[in-house]
């Protein structure tokens, strides 16, 4: 079975909707605040029943709505039990979780709102999407840190191929969270005030955080075509490997390429996970140089910032648009490339126009979780 993507919903600090975000990327824009501009979830989810949704669930649900609408999921002829939800998430509704606990510490345990308790389980954003779309087939959340979104796609592919469901809303989101921003800044993993130096640049000090998310409709390509849905691309390979250093990512990339049946010169570009992390980018660069020498590399976090576990989903969305437009967005303002990456064909300054058939998306987490997904042109 070839798994097609027939809908994409993307929200990021660069805008709402895959096309506007991609256009802003081509335009060289860089996230200013880290927050989704003019985000009103009621525009996507209606104004009823959202009171106890936390920010992550609102972003995820809105992305799912955009994806479902583009795909025509509601009229696709799938029974509710044929539709599932798979979400990659490591922090879940982190802001709601910590606020629930803080309230109980501050006010006492009998004063918390029991309606907010549901948000404390990491799977709650996925569950809320299940309710919105009446997807009763299955509902899974996968957590592998920064690799979560790609591993969720890999899990979703398995579910489709095993026939456990026929269509999936699959993706990841992370809403703005002061807990994340402050706690990781304190630990030196995120920068609050960045020095303007991003992925692959000399003197980079670490990523800045932003909210965002992307959700896809995944289904059997044949079935999608038979209902006249337009595949935006196919997921042709996934790979995942646990292991430290660049070797783990190398293995994940090789696995994805083997599954897709691709040699290195057939890959059109790499959408890299590089975030501006001093060590992380280095390992990432080593892995790409080893597996895909000479292949153009871009790093969307230079523009969207780092959305942690949701980044992989955003990168898949960017890849679909690259395939469609034949344009690889550039890393803006990369004046001073770290010589460690001299072997990479980094796309910077100006978008590259080239025929894009196969995009390899990487993700790695300092924990040792590595993943790769290959998205290919549908025909």
């Amino acid at each position: 079975m070839r798994v097609a993507i027939t809908g994409v919903g993307l929200l990021s600090s660069l805008g709402i909707g895959a096309h506007p975000v991609f256009d802003n990327m081509l335009d060289g824009q860089v996230s200013a605040s880290g927050e989704i501009p003019d985000f009103d979830a009621t525009a996507f989810l209606g104004d009823k029943g959202l009171r106890h949704f936390d920010r992550t669930a609102l972003v995820l649900g809105s992305a799912a709505r955009l994806a479902a609408e583009q795909s025509g999921l509601a009229s696709a002829g799938y029974a509710p039990e044929e539709i599932g939800v798979v979400v990659g998430s490591t922090h879940g509704s982190i802001q709601a979780i910590t606020e629930f606990d803080q309230e109980s510490v501050r006010e006492g345990p009998n004063y918390v709102n029991p309606q907010d308790f549901a948000n404390t389980v990491i799977s709650q954003p996925a569950s809320r999407v299940g309710v919105i779309f009446n997807a009763t087939g299955l509902n899974t959340t996968i957590a592998t840190g920064a690799a979560s979104a790609l591993d969720a796609v890999a899990y979703g592919m398995t579910m489709l191929r095993l026939g456990r469901v026929s269509a999936l809303l699959c993706g990841s989101a992370l809403g703005h969270s002061s807990e994340i921003e402050q706690s990781y800044a304190k630990a030196g993993r995120l920068q609050i005030s960045a020095n303007g130096v991003g992925p692959f640049a000399l003197g980079r000090k670490g990523p800045k955080f932003a909210e965002g998310g992307a959700v896809f409709v995944l289904e059997d390509e044949e079935r999608a075509r038979s209902r006249n849905a337009m595949p935006l691309g196919v997921v042709s390979g996934v790979g995942s490997f646990f292991g430290s250093g660049s070797a783990g990512l190398v293995r994940a990339m090789q696995e994805a390429m083997a599954q897709a049946g691709l040699k290195s010169d057939q890959v059109s570009c790499v959408v890299s996970y590089a975030s501006g992390s001093p060590e992380g980018d280095k390992e990432e660069g080593e892995a790409i140089a080893q597996v895909l020498p000479g292949v153009p590399v871009t790093a969307p976090k230079s523009q969207t910032r780092d959305c942690l576990e949701a980044s992989g989903a955003i990168h898949i969305a960017v890849s679909l648009l690259s395939i469609r437009s034949g344009k690889i967005p550039a890393i803006p303002k990369l004046d001073n490339v770290d010589p460690a990456f001299s072997k990479l064909d980094l796309v910077y300054g100006k978008a590259r126009e080239v025929s894009v058939k196969h995009v390899l998306i990487t993700a790695r987490d300092d924990s040792g979780h590595n993943a790769a997904v290959i998205v290919s042109a549908a025909s």
Partner: protein, 397 residues
């Protein structure tokens, strides 16, 4: 041809006993693990009882990780010992389910903040919290490479992890997986269930007419899953085969189950279908059986619906009456109970039973364990968000 997947090692870490024999002896004896909460002061709560793991000697782990990691490492050690496996094992899949993960770490941070201010919080403390650190820490501790993930699907998470492990082995990706679930007792969970008035004031009585709620619990269980071929080749003891998995989602409400038990039915039906078994083959169902008025009634109804005429012959019990609701660990510990029921021919009792509920018209094996051959056992687990799961285990002939 898909690889067959068998359970060759079990590592339960529970409030009533840890390790195969201690756990199973306590289960068969019908031990109630509930007691006054030790881990935190409950004087400002309306409820005061929980099932905690006692006399636990924490294994030494590099980096002073959170309590979920500590439990998961201990349970993994027990499972490896039970399976007779020595390190290093190299490429082993690792799938761990959890509800709140290392949430006690976040609770600690908030306590320090409230008492001594933000600056008093250790700068690296939060890094111990994100849920995927559990499988990271376990893999590093034992040197496992291979597929590795946490599946945080709340209180059905153990079943999800076992199903993922089975998928990996069936597809030939690895031939050995450690799969299970973990959750240490959490103040957030205690607070939340307390505010929902879903905690039993005294004892947990699943399927009893006067049931009043759960008893919060904690624990972990890891299972060694291997391909049948590998298990036979190394002469491993085989407890049971994982023959089927079924999932569904109510898509109904953040915390309440669907009143008709639609999803619970679908999960059981799918597990039987996946296993290629008819309902008549089922001897035992380890129920989700939380002891809340809503869950038990709906689950009993769903079981009666799926089992039809066969329902009166099926033994159904909830070990949550003994170990409490151990959240993400629950279905992993209950999977261990299923494997041992098949292996020993003893069915765990539902303890604390006093008054039958006509709305739960099942043989719930009240108060006393029962000796009877078990060929097929189903493990039900449900979760917030209406997340339903069922894993089918069978005796290997």
């Amino acid at each position: 041809m898909k690889n067959r997947v068998v359970v060759t090692g079990i590592g339960p870490l529970t409030p009533i006993g840890s390790g195969r024999d201690a756990f199973w002896n306590a289960v068969v004896a019908g031990t109630d693990g509930s007691d006054e909460v030790q881990k935190f002061d409950t004087s400002i709560y309306r409820f005061h009882r929980a099932c905690e793991v006692k006399n636990f000697v924490a294994p030494g782990i590099v980096g002073d990780p959170g309590p979920a990691t500590v439990f998961a490492v201990a349970a993994t050690e027990l499972a490896l010992q039970d399976a007779g496996l020595d390190l290093p094992l190299g490429e082993v899949g690792l799938a761990i389910g959890t509800t709140g993960g290392e949430i006690p770490v976040l609770e600690h941070i908030n306590r320090v903040r409230f008492k001594d201010g933000e600056d008093a919080v250790d700068r690296h403390e939060f890094e111990k919290y994100p849920v995927h650190v559990i499988s990271t820490n376990v893999a590093r501790h034992f040197g496992f490479t291979g597929p590795n993930l946490v599946v945080p699907t709340a209180c059905a998470a153990g079943n999800y992890a076992i199903a993922i492990g089975r998928d990996w082995i069936q597809s030939g990706r690895v031939d050995r997986v450690l799969a299970g679930g973990v959750d240490p007792l959490s103040r957030v969970t205690f607070t939340g269930f307390g505010r929902m008035f879903a905690i039993a004031p005294d004892r947990c009585r699943p399927f009893d007419k006067n049931r009043k709620g759960i008893t919060p619990g904690e624990g972990a269980a890891m299972l060694v899953l291997e391909s049948l071929e590998l298990a036979k080749k190394r002469g491993a003891k085989i407890y049971a085969e994982v023959v089927g998995c079924g999932f569904s989602c109510d898509a109904y409400h953040p915390t309440m189950p669907h009143p008709d038990g639609m999803g619970a039915r679908l999960a059981m039906e799918r597990a039987l279908q996946d296993a290629g078994l008819s309902r008549d083959a089922v001897d035992y169902i380890s129920a989700h059986g939380t002891g809340t008025p809503a869950n038990d009634k709906i689950e009993a109804n769903a079981i009666c619906n799926v089992m039809g005429e066969h329902a009166p012959k099926v033994k159904v019990s909830s070990i949550k009456s003994m170990i409490g609701h151990t959240m993400g660990a629950a279905s992993a510990i209950e999977a261990v109970a299923c494997a041992l029921a098949i292996d020993t021919g003893i069915i765990p009792p539902t303890i604390n039973h006093e008054t039958p509920d006509p709305e739960c018209n099942l043989d719930i094996v009240p108060n006393q364990a029962r000796t009877t051959a078990v060929s097929v056992a189903l493990n039900n687990a449900y979760a917030f968000g209406g997340n339903n799961s069922c894993v089918a285990f069978a005796k290997v002939a």
